[in-house]
């Protein structure tokens, strides 16, 4: 919420990612506090990843680690973590077609997941995609929009970017 986004609407933030899981039995978590602090828009994406990674290891008692990790950004990013848990709401700020900031708006932890599907992976915006240098999107996939709706779309904003 620190600057008006170039794209889309007059709202303060360009994008919000709302990510969740087909899960049950929400569990209280030490990360609740990180949710609250995230709501202020102060967390970087790296911190988000760190928090989520740590949360994935909740059974190993990493909750407190996670809470601190949210303030230190990227230091606890794991590789190839299979996410299984919870709802995570991220606020993403864009400027000039690039993602410039991401913060956690809400998260909750659940630890049970459906057995039908091969795997659950948290569709996350990893730090690779979100550093200010590389966060530019090439396109957006979504349900078909009409010509009128196109004008409001993020794809429309990307199309207007000059090389």
């Amino acid at each position: 919420m620190r600057r008006a986004p170039l794209v889309i609407t007059g709202t303060a933030c360009g994008l919000v990612a709302v990510i969740g899981y087909h899960t049950a039995a929400p569990q209280a978590s030490a990360l609740t506090s990180s949710s609250a602090s995230g709501g202020t828009g102060t967390l970087s994406f790296g911190a988000t990843t760190a928090a989520t990674t740590a949360r994935a290891k909740t059974s190993a008692g990493a909750n407190k680690t996670a809470t601190s990790a949210t303030k230190t950004a990227r230091s606890a990013v794991g590789s190839d973590v299979q996410y299984q848990y919870g709802d995570l709401e991220l606020k993403v700020t864009m400027a000039g077609g690039r993602i410039t900031d991401i913060s956690v708006v809400k998260d909750s932890v659940t630890d049970q997941y459906s057995q039908q599907i091969d795997a659950y992976a948290l569709p996350e915006l990893r730090s690779q995609a979100l550093t200010a240098q590389s966060a530019k999107l090439d396109g957006v996939s979504g349900a078909s929009y009409t010509s009128a709706a196109y004008e409001q779309s993020l794809q429309s904003a990307l199309d207007k970017l000059k090389a």
Partner: protein, 256 residues
């Protein structure tokens, strides 16, 4: 991006929407690049002229009214019909353009097919890498700049301002959902309006098939995922409230 890589973007109003094209000529002269993009746009307009069911006199409209036979239609109608049969099998029956209330309607596949064909025109012209985004259904070839994949946001069903995630894309991605145009997807199994999920995104090699599989998944929900993975495609389902399910190989960005 590659140092000095030329990016040429174009947005073409067609098929009741806008198709976005992003190409990286990689040494192809700009005159030829523009010409290839113009050819790709011509192809899209021709697809509209043949397949639109909103216009009464297109070959598909006349075929559906029984005024002409398939053999009277331009060859791409037979090609799309064959793709529909293939997609029906691949979807486990969840995509079935013959089981719709108004009769045969391949719309759930045509836009993806058209974008795929447009991307082929660009590639065949010698363009190094490119992406054709037909209102949310994307066909790509090559990769941009020095990156190893296209970076594509998947729109949240909740708002055009929201992304559910970002993926590393090779090939094609299609998303179907109810949020842009209301309950327009028909559940061919239940014979009722579809609504198992708010949106379904399918990635894989062929955008025509991905488009059809995504359409089927909006009705099928998780019940349709096995067929999708068996066909060599990957999927993500999004539900109201932000719930999501992804198949194992869904192309989320690689860990750092």
């Amino acid at each position: 991006m590659r140092p000095g890589e030329v990016i040429f973007r174009h947005a073409e109003p067609v098929m009741g929407t806008v198709v976005s094209i992003d190409v990286r000529p990689r040494g192809l002269p700009m005159v030829q690049t523009r010409s290839a993009v113009a050819q790709a746009c011509e192809l899209l307009h021709r697809a509209d002229d043949v397949f639109s069911l909103f216009q009464p006199n297109t070959p598909l409209s006349r075929l559906c009214r029984g005024e002409i036979e398939l053999s009277d239609c331009p060859p791409e109608v037979a090609q799309v019909t064959a793709l529909c049969e293939q997609a029906k099998r691949a979807s486990g029956g969840w995509f079935d353009p013959w089981a719709l209330p108004g009769g045969f309607d391949p719309t759930g596949l045509v836009k993806g097919w058209a974008a795929r064909e447009a991307a082929r025109v660009l590639e065949d012209a010698g363009i190094g890498a490119g992406m054709v985004n037909a209102a949310g259904d994307i066909a790509s070839f090559g990769t941009p700049g020095q990156r190893e994949a296209w970076r594509v946001g998947i729109r949240s069903p909740q708002s055009p301002e929201l992304l559910a995630c970002v993926i590393d894309l090779h090939g094609a991605v299609a998303t179907s959902g109810l949020y842009e145009r209301g309950a327009h997807i028909w559940d061919v199994v239940a014979q009722a309006p579809a609504g198992a999920v708010d949106s379904a995104t399918v990635c894989g090699p062929d955008l025509a098939l991905a488009d059809a599989l995504a359409t089927g998944l909006v009705a099928a929900g998780e019940a349709g995922l096995d067929a999708v993975t068996a066909a060599g495609y990957e999927a993500m389902l999004l539900r109201e409230g932000g719930k999501s399910v992804t198949t194992r190989g869904f192309p989320l960005p690689a860990a750092v």
